[in-house]
């Protein structure tokens, strides 16, 4: 699954790092590092993290791989 975090909105509440620790990690006290392509096995945890984010900074792919450009799919 694909994920992006709007880090200009993120305020380091770290809810995501508690709920999906394999996908979201705190770097120091406040900075967030994340895996933009977490394993599908983590799907439920990542969705819970996205829902729990107090500033709603986590965007999860709504398409699940549809509408992938033809030229790009080969690379």
């Amino acid at each position: 699954m694909r994920v992006v975090v709007d880090l200009s909105r993120c305020q380091g509440y770290a809810q995501c790092a508690f709920l999906a620790p394999d996908a979201f990690r705190m770097h120091g006290e406040e900075a967030l590092m994340y895996d933009p392509k977490p394993d599908d096995a983590q799907r439920d945890q990542v969705l819970r993290a996205a829902a729990a984010c107090p500033v709603q900074a986590i965007l999860v792919d709504q398409l699940e791989g549809r509408d992938v450009p033809v030229e790009a799919s080969a690379s």
Binding site: S8, C10, G12, H27, A31, M33, D67, E71, A72
Partner: protein
């Protein structure tokens, strides 16, 4: 037909071309469909990959945690577009309304969005830039090859340029326990963006993490061995340093060369626009069908005396994409202005650095709350007695408060909003390097006498 009929017909069956298939282009395409645009949508991109996110490239990709190929951007919705990827645009014809591609194809449009972004500024000597072990970081291919070089365990990495990207790369090197030297022409890291006070904090932070930081020096030559591998760098003070990897982090060049001769106000500074992301012609007249968004757009900001500002910020690309898309399918009375304050972040040495506003638009800076020695504080920037920007180190929760101060032109210095009072509350001069470091020289000339004949002509532009 009225203009409302025209607009309805355009929204139903018009042709929109987006040049630049990265964050701004993708988000604009999604917003166009959200706005009810059902006509044809063409996405042109010089890279062969579908849109991907760049901020992780200098962070979690270089640490080796995330593979460079895994940063493809999630989609908010289906955009039903035709994708022309792997070929750059080479020209824009405003008379015929088509985009020319480098392979000779012509793509017709009714309206076009330009979101071609920036590319990495390469090392200025081509033969030295081509040495094995010399890198820039802008694309996922760049990040992937630098990650491999770092994983090989180099004896030392030289980072040229201590802006945000260079500082983040130095931070990753220390995290991977790789010796790193950072060379910066200015007196301190980040000083061009955030001024001398934050520069000193950043310099102390780098040294505390074991970075060999050398400021006020210029790298004059990159030397290779007989096999063409980078081995040594020469400085203008006569000293040298031995390293296996050099990362050139000297900022970006806006991708506007392809617009030369198009008649748009495009140059090394970006593409001049109104707040609605509509591009200006070289004469400074507004266009109706040409829009720009993201790193390449240069828009006026009323909060900063209507100065034209271009920003290489993630959130700016997202917001301008939304405004541009809305305005591309809206009539005059419904258009939106892009009035957000710039917001920026950088993660380095375990600290979350964020800013709101325009720190370079300031004459004084003050620590408004927290503790500089703990590297947990907010600095407020002021210009002629009003708050114009704020920078936080591990204090991001407070930036929204400062955003409101900036938007309401609150007096500077502002009172501390918390009991977390700083030791020293006296403003100091902000002290940026002079504008001569940034000046580009003349880029246009004005000709003609009668008002009907006055025209602006572009001067041939040279990149340093």
């Amino acid at each position: 037909m009225t203009s409302a009929d025209n607009l309805r017909a355009f929204k139903r069956a018009g042709r929109i071309v987006v040049v630049g298939a990265s964050l701004a282009g993708l988000r604009a395409a999604e917003a166009l469909r959200d706005e009810g645009f059902t006509g044809s949508l063409t996405m042109i991109g010089d890279e062969s990959a579908e849109p991907y996110d760049r901020p992780p490239l200098s962070k979690q990709v270089l640490t080796g945690w995330v593979s460079a190929g895994n940063t493809t951007l999630p989609r908010r919705r289906d955009i039903d577009a035709e994708w022309l990827l792997g070929v750059p645009a080479s020209g824009l014809d405003l008379a015929a309304n088509h985009v020319r591609l480098a392979d000779g194809r012509e793509v017709p449009f009714d309206r076009v969005l330009i979101s071609t972004g920036v590319r990495a500024r390469p090392w200025f000597v081509e033969s030295e830039a081509a040495l094995d072990g010399v890198f820039v970081v802008r694309t996922r291919e760049h990040a992937e090859s630098l990650q491999r070089a770092l994983a090989a365990g180099p004896s030392r990495v030289l980072v040229i340029g201590a802006g945000f990207t260079g500082s983040e790369i130095a931070s990753v090197c220390r995290e991977r326990d790789i010796p790193v030297t950072v060379a910066e022409l200015a007196p301190a890291p980040l000083v061009g963006a955030l001024g001398a006070m934050i520069g000193e904090v950043a310099a102390n932070m780098q040294r505390a993490h074991g970075v060999d930081l050398r400021c006020g020096v210029k790298v004059t030559r990159l030397e290779g061995d007989a096999q063409g591998h980078f081995r040594r760098a020469h400085f203008d003070d006569g000293s040298t340093i031995d390293a296996d990897v050099a990362v050139v982090a000297l900022g970006g060049i806006r991708n506007t060369e392809w617009l030369r001769g198009s008649g748009l106000a495009a140059g090394p500074w970006g593409i001049a626009c109104d707040t609605g992301c509509r591009a200006l012609t070289l004469d400074g007249l507004i266009t109706d069908d040409i829009f720009a968004a993201g790193d390449v757009a240069r828009c006026p900001n009323p909060v900063y005396e209507y100065r034209l500002i271009s920003l290489e910020h993630w959130a700016n690309a997202v917001e301008q994409a939304g405004v541009a898309a809305h305005n591309m399918v809206s009539g005059q009375a419904e258009r939106w202005p892009h009035l957000s304050l710039p917001v920026f972040w950088s993660i380095q040495f375990g600290v979350n650095i964020k800013s709101v506003g325009v720190p370079t638009f300031a004459d004084e800076v003050v620590v408004a709350q927290g503790s500089v020695s703990d590297r947990r504080f907010v600095a407020a920037y002021g210009y002629r007695g009003r708050v114009t920007a704020a920078v936080s180190f591990d204090n991001a929760k407070w930036l929204d408060h400062y955003r409101q101060l900036i938007e309401t032109a609150a007096p500077f210095p502002p009172p501390s909003p918390t009991p977390d009072q700083p030791v020293d509350t006296k403003p100091v001069p902000v002290d940026f390097p002079g504008p001569d470091l940034l000046a580009q020289g003349a880029t246009v000339v004005v000709t003609g006498n009668d008002p009907g004949e006055r025209r602006v002509t572009a001067v041939q532009q040279h990149h340093r």
